[in-house]
Symmetry: C2
Subunit: 535 residues, 2 copies
């Protein structure tokens, strides 16, 4: 704990100067591009280091590497372009026009919150690591970053930090006058090889830390949120925590889709469950089947066969391996759920190593018939509602979309449906009578998920403006935001408004001559993100 | 407590149907306009009721009434226009173009969170009351509203609710098929005449409540936030609380401005302190003077004279009256601070009534010289850092803008400066050497405030797009948002993303033919709030 405090004191020294160094958005963009370029130069070394440390395959890490550098460059472009600040200008209303309140000149924009502490993920050592999306978005916003080491991959973390820190130092020394590479670089790294809870707590309590990005377990995210709010009890300022906390992602296969292409969907889902050996927050966890019992049985048999055909693999860490075994045991104990894959044990020992065996559990008992989510919930809610991290999934019957609402909210919900399924009209007699079952189901599902996928697997994240990697609790604690895509930058910002401020003293984003071209005024009317209101 | 629970059960019955009734944005707009029209028809009765109950003057309530109805109509326009949902469309990248991750069609927008509980303010019974900004923005977002009665003005609250509820019921019955006026109206009112803590807690803990808007004390806001997060300990879902918690607003008068127009500024600030008898969250609380001691003394004498010339007035409630007396006593006890107004007591008794006397305290001791904020803070931090609600203010010397940073963050900071003040160049020798003192000061002030006013009083809120009524803790608990202006609607929303969704199943905001005209795609590139990125 004392060591942690010492490290932390070093990690936060000179951060104010680091903030100033990031004040210029062109500099921020240059820094992000420089980090991406430096990582590219060390691509082979990084991937080899990470593969050795995490047991993830180079073939899995290659696209993740591209996502990491692609995200850094995307945020460089976002910072350079400038419209992310949500600039708005309200000039005084012209004579005769109405203004509510005093008719003053008002201009607002987003400004950075201050240093951001990043607690990266175990499962994406690159895309959610030292140079991952939280770091990239925070730097793009103008916030220094302090990364806490992830004990599952310290070698990867230190290598990434070394490369990124060096690239950043060179870039800032070249572009910021008076910049001191010894103490001003706004990217810090706090070691935590022993997974010492004190390190994370000290970081979350640190006076200079203004926000936290976390990717990990629900318990971890909630604990960090408590620490961050508890700062107020010690006379401090509470800070926001953006926690992505895992998810039991639902997949619904509608009657028609199950009948016409059940095998193909089973193959899709097998690939999705097996990718990175199930260690993805977007892994399909709960697969609900509509339609006939025969179709459902064929689907379960095919999915089981495909999972049985996959090799057992080492998971990311011993801790995660132990949790996988316990998770599978919990599912096995649920009344009404049977193991439909053929290997009996969740772990096998190969050499000195424990490897995880893919497993499928299904409520497909031929005697008792299928059980839907509500029935299953009554029999073992805790187990089927909890994420099992690793290559395991559960299949249920899905008679009635509304049952989905009884499951915890998720990051992603996938729906497989055919043209025929689109025509199934609801006969509930209620206010929605006459809508199609699918439309009803989609609107119900959208209420409890961050991303709704149509005819596709939940895994696989496109990094683009519209991406929402988030969702209602317990998937995250902040459903108003996303951890992926340009919008993620707003997590590290707050709003500020300038009233009657002389043009020369305004930030350039808000000046009359609109040097960034990021807003429009039409006939003196209010603007909002470039679009005039009340038009 | 049992009564409270019964009331609450009644208040939340049928709310799901209420949510559905608000699903159509045109209906939401019609409802908001109908409420505004109904309030207009009862204007005289409302203002008379409120004036009698709160001791606010009709002349003070008239503009507040206009702000209430203006805000309702503004949010009607926001809902009708539709671009507030932040729609974004990413069509698949064309062949040859790069996509990070799977090249799928992605579309995102904001969707309503669900029922919002509104805890209104004591001091703005109309603009922050039953039909105030929180209610208007939540209804515009599509969220039903449950208002907790404010014990300081139950008659006003019940009257507003009666009028708004009736208007809403009539409007929805006319436009929504199957709407039941007896149980579906999505505006509820929970009585709390005795200020029973249990009522608020039960509401914040209620399963159906999805978010909370609060305007009031810091203790109240923090307590509510604790309850809302504590839901998770009882197996529930934590919900966001948007708390605006009062503020000691800073005013800085620069050397040149003090010299050339000190009297005029003193008159401005006297009016600002005295408006609504100091019962405004934007009241100037801490006035810092730059420049010469003689100018400062003249300013304090003039401001004291103007406050002395004002009549004592009744405050909003007995509770607030007692707190005003205690707050003034705390300031009086601060070493180095003297009372510069002539009336010795904070309260006077007139008839059976206790009335508040305007008071000014200043660190202008002719023997010891002026003291700046840091020096004063060392002598009585708790007192000068705490809001005194009512017609009292403190004057300090402001040598060095950076001292402002030692004060708690505020909703508003005002700066009075002349042309001459713009030229004062910093000679700190540091990284910012050579910038003007004023630019430095503004950037420092912006770091600790939500709205920065130039040459104007902090009171007076223009309701427009750029408005930020918010700020860092302790002014609010959510500096990323604003309680006033169109952006306030986003507090009641979360993000959802549709991936590869058939056009017919998409919300109309996201359909290919862009029926609302709220987004643009340029050459298939990502859009963001209508502006293509990476352009």
């Amino acid at each position: 704990m004392n060591d942690a405090m010492n490290d932390l004191a070093a990690a936060t020294r000179g951060l104010s100067a680091g903030t100033l160094a990031l004040a210029d958005r062109a500099v921020r963009a240059a820094v992000l591009d420089a980090i991406a370029a430096a990582l590219d130069s060390a691509r082979a070394e990084i991937i080899a280091t990470t593969a050795a440390e995490t047991a993830l395959l180079p073939a899995e890490l290659e696209p993740e590497f591209d996502r990491m550098t692609g995200t850094l460059r995307m945020f460089a472009a976002v910072a350079r372009e400038g419209s992310w600040v949500r600039a708005a200008i309200d000039t005084p209303a012209p004579a005769g026009a109405k203004s509510i309140g005093p008719n003053v000149d008002m201009r607002r924009m987003l400004v950075p919150l201050g240093p951001v502490a990043v607690f990266g993920a175990s499962n994406f050592p690159l895309a959610y690591g030292v140079c991952g999306g939280d770091t990239a978005s925070a730097l793009a916003a103008g916030c220094p970053v302090i990364v806490k080491e992830h004990p599952a991959h310290p070698k990867t973390g230190r290598l990434l930090w070394f490369i990124a820190h060096g690239a950043m130092a060179r870039c800032l020394a070249a572009s910021v006058e008076g910049f001191d590479v010894a103490s001003h670089v706004p990217l810090r790294y706090v070691e935590d090889p022993g997974h010492d809870r004190g390190v994370g707590v000290a970081l979350a309590e640190h006076e200079q830390v203004a926000a936290i990005g976390f990717t990990g377990s629900r318990a971890g995210g909630l604990a960090l949120d408590r620490v961050a709010r508890g700062r107020v009890d010690r006379g401090g300022v509470p800070i926001p925590v953006f926690a992505e906390m895992g998810s039991v992602n639902r997949v619904v296969v509608c009657r028609g889709a199950l009948r016409t292409r059940g095998r193909e969907i089973a193959a899709d889902l097998a690939r999705s469950v097996l990718a990175r050996h199930g260690q993805q927050c977007t892994k399909p966890g709960l697969i609900a089947l509509g339609g006939e019992a025969d179709d459902a049985r064929a689907f379960v048999a095919e999915l089981s066969r495909l999972l049985d055909a996959a090799l057992a693999r080492r998971l990311l860490s011993e801790r995660i391996t132990g949790e996988y075994e316990r998770g599978c045991a919990r599912l096995r104990a649920v009344d009404g759920l049977s193991l439909t894959t053929s290997r009996p044990d969740a772990l096998v020992h190969v050499g000195g190593e424990r490897r995880a065996v893919p497993m499928l559990f299904a409520a497909m008992d031929p005697v008792r018939g299928n059980l839907d989510y509500v029935q299953m919930f009554a029999r073992g809610a805790e187990a089927i509602g909890e994420e099992v991290f690793g290559p395991a999934a559960v299949v249920l019957c899905a008679d009635g979309w509304e049952n989905l609402l009884y499951a915890d909210a998720s990051l992603v919900t996938s729906v497989y449906a055919d043209e025929d399924d689109l025509l199934h009209v609801a006969d509930d007699g209620g206010i929605l009578h006459g809508q199609t079952e699918l439309a009803l189901g989609l609107s119900a599902a959208a209420r409890t998920t961050g991303r709704l996928v149509f005819n596709g697997v939940p895994t696989g994240v496109r990094v683009c403006e519209s991406m929402v990697h988030g969702g209602p609790y317990p998937a995250t604690n902040r459903p108003d935001t996303t951890a992926v895509g340009p919008l993620a930058i707003e997590r590290w910002c707050r709003l500020v408004c300038f009233q009657n401020c002389p043009d020369a003293l305004l930030p350039e984003e808000l000046r009359d001559d609109n040097p960034l071209g990021i807003w429009r005024t039409v006939n003196g009317r209010s603007t909002r993100d470039g679009i005039p209101r009340n038009a």
